[in-house]
C-alpha cells in the first residue's frame, strides 16, 4: 500500500461505486528491508481505507473460514477491502517474520524441517 496508485484506484472505485471490486490486503507487516512500522507506517490502515470510501473488514488471513465469510459478506454499496492479518512464513519457526526469507530458497535440510513442522501442526 506504499504506492500512491493503490489509493488512486481506491478513490476511483469508491467514487464510481464499483461494488464488484473486492481487494484483499495480505497484511504481514513486513517490507523488504524492515517492518512496515519501521519503514513507512500504514496505521491506522482500516480507518484510512474507510475514509477513502471502502467497506473494510478485518480477518485472520490464515483462517479459511474467515476468508470465506468475508468474501460472502461483501458490501452492495461500496467496494470492499478485506484486511487479512497474516504472518509471513507462518508455521515454520525459523522463517516466521524473518526478512531474509523474502529472498532465500530453503536448502534440502531446511525444506525437510519446514515440511515436518507444517505436517506436525496440521496433521
Amino acid at each position: 500500500m506504499d504506492e500512491g496508485s493503490n489509493w488512486e484506484a481506491l478513490m476511483f472505485a469508491a467514487h464510481h461505486k464499483l461494488i464488484q471490486l473486492t481487494a484483499i490486503i495480505d497484511y504481514n507487516k513486513l517490507q523488504s528491508l524492515d517492518s512496515v512500522a519501521n519503514t513507512l507506517g500504514l496505521e491506522p490502515l482500516v480507518e484510512k481505507l474507510s475514509a477513502f470510501g471502502a467497506e473494510v473488514c478485518e480477518i485472520d488471513g490464515h483462517n479459511h473460514e474467515q476468508i470465506a465469510n468475508a468474501l460472502s459478506c461483501i458490501s452492495y454499496e461500496k467496494p470492499t477491502v478485506i484486511v487479512a492479518h497474516t504472518t509471513k512464513g507462518k508455521g515454520v519457526s525459523f522463517m516466521e517474520n524473518q526478512i531474509e526469507w523474502h529472498y532465500k530458497n530453503p536448502n534440502d535440510e531446511q525444506l525437510a524441517a519446514a515440511l515436518a513442522e507444517l505436517e506436525a501442526a496440521y496433521a
Binding site: 506504499d2 517490507q31 523488504s32 528491508l33 529472498y103
Partner: protein, 300 residues
C-alpha cells in the same frame, strides 16, 4: 557490480557529507552498511518511487548529491515524470541507480526487466548515462559522478560479474574505453553495460576475430553525440552490442550521433535484443540468447 557500487558510495560519503542514499524499499544485503554508518543520510522511501524521486530532487536542490536505488524498471519507468521534471529539467544532482539492468533479474519476471531504460533516459537533455561493463568500470563511473554531480542514470548488473579491466580505468563521457587492441584498419566491437563480458568471451574464443578491437563506453549522453564520429573514423567497422532493445537503445543513439556523416553510416552494425524478450520470463543467459545476443549473431 552492486558491491563495487556500495563500496565506492561508502568511501565517497566518508569525505563528502552531502552524499545521500534514498532507496525504494530495496537493497537487502547491499545498502545496510550505508544505512548503519550514515543513518541521517539514508532514507527508505518505501515502495513509492515517484515520491522517492521527488524527495531526492528536493534534497538535491538543498545541496545534496542524492542516489536513488531500486531494481531496474522501478526507479526509472515507474517515476519517469519525476525524473524528467524534477531532476533533469532542474539540472539537479540526482543519480538514479537501477540494479539489475537488462535481463539480470530474468527469473523474477518482466516487472523486473529493464530493456527500454536507455530509451527513456537518453531523451532527457541533461541526463548522463553510466552503464559500466564490469566492477572496475562501476568504480570509475562512480568516481566520475562523485566528482561531477549531475542528473545521471547508473545502470548496474547484479553481483558476481568478472573484472575485465585490471585496474580502475579513467572514464569520460562519450569516450570509448579500450579493452583490447585490434589490427590497424580493422573493425571493433563497442559495448555498453554488462554485455562487455559476453563479447569479450566470444572474441577470446574465436580466433577468426583476432583482428577486431574491443572497446566499451560506460558513460554517454545526448550531449556527447558529437564525440562519436571522430572515434569511428579509425575503424573499418563498428559493431555496437547492448542488452536493450534496438529501439531507442545505444546502437540507435550511435546511429543518430553519426547521421551528420553519412559516409560513416555503412560502418555501423547494431546488435541489440529482439523485442521477443518483452514479456518473457527466464534466466538472464537464456533470455539474452532468445533475444539474439548469441555467438552466431554477434559474429555474423
Amino acid at each position: 557490480m552492486r558491491n563495487a557500487f556500495i563500496h565506492e558510495l561508502m568511501s565517497a560519503a566518508e569525505t563528502k557529507d552531502n552524499i545521500a542514499l534514498v532507496v525504494g524499499d530495496l537493497g537487502y544485503g547491499v545498502v545496510e552498511p550505508f544505512a548503519k554508518r550514515f543513518p541521517k543520510r539514508f532514507f527508505n522511501a518505501g515502495v513509492a518511487e515517484q515520491n522517492m524521486t521527488g524527495l531526492a530532487a528536493g534534497l538535491a536542490s538543498e545541496g545534496f548529491h542524492v542516489f536513488t536505488y531500486s531494481i531496474a524498471n522501478f526507479p526509472t519507468f515507474r517515476c519517469a515524470e519525476q525524473i524528467r521534471n524534477d531532476v533533469d529539467y532542474h539540472n539537479l544532482p540526482v543519480t538514479v541507480v537501477a540494479v539489475g539492468g537488462g535481463l539480470a533479474y530474468g527469473n523474477l519476471g518482466y516487472s523486473h526487466h529493464a530493456v527500454q531504460d536507455y530509451a527513456l533516459m537518453r531523451v532527457l537533455p541533461n541526463m548522463l548515462i553510466a552503464s559500466p561493463g564490469d566492477p572496475m568500470e562501476v568504480r570509475a563511473c562512480m568516481r566520475y559522478l562523485i566528482a561531477n554531480p549531475q542528473p545521471s542514470y547508473f545502470r548496474l548488473g547484479k553481483a558476481g560479474e568478472p573484472c575485465i579491466h585490471q585496474d580502475v580505468p579513467e572514464v569520460f563521457p562519450g569516450k570509448w574505453l579500450r579493452i583490447r587492441v585490434g589490427e590497424k584498419g580493422a573493425g571493433t566491437y563497442l559495448t555498453t553495460g554488462a554485455t562487455l563480458d559476453l563479447v569479450n568471451q566470444i572474441l577470446m574464443r574465436n580466433l577468426r576475430f583476432k583482428e577486431y578491437a574491443l572497446y566499451s563506453m560506460p558513460l554517454w549522453s545526448m550531449k556527447t553525440k558529437s564525440l562519436q564520429a571522430p572515434q569511428i573514423e579509425e575503424f573499418a567497422k563498428v559493431v555496437t552490442v547492448e542488452d536493450h532493445l534496438i529501439d531507442g537503445g545505444f546502437g540507435s543513439w550511435m546511429l543518430e550521433a553519426i547521421s551528420p556523416q553519412p559516409s560513416q553510416l555503412d560502418k555501423l552494425r547494431i546488435k541489440a535484443l529482439d523485442a521477443n524478450v518483452c514479456g518473457m520470463v527466464a534466466k538472464q543467459s537464456t533470455m539474452n540468447a532468445e533475444g539474439g545476443l548469441t555467438e552466431d549473431v554477434l559474429c555474423a
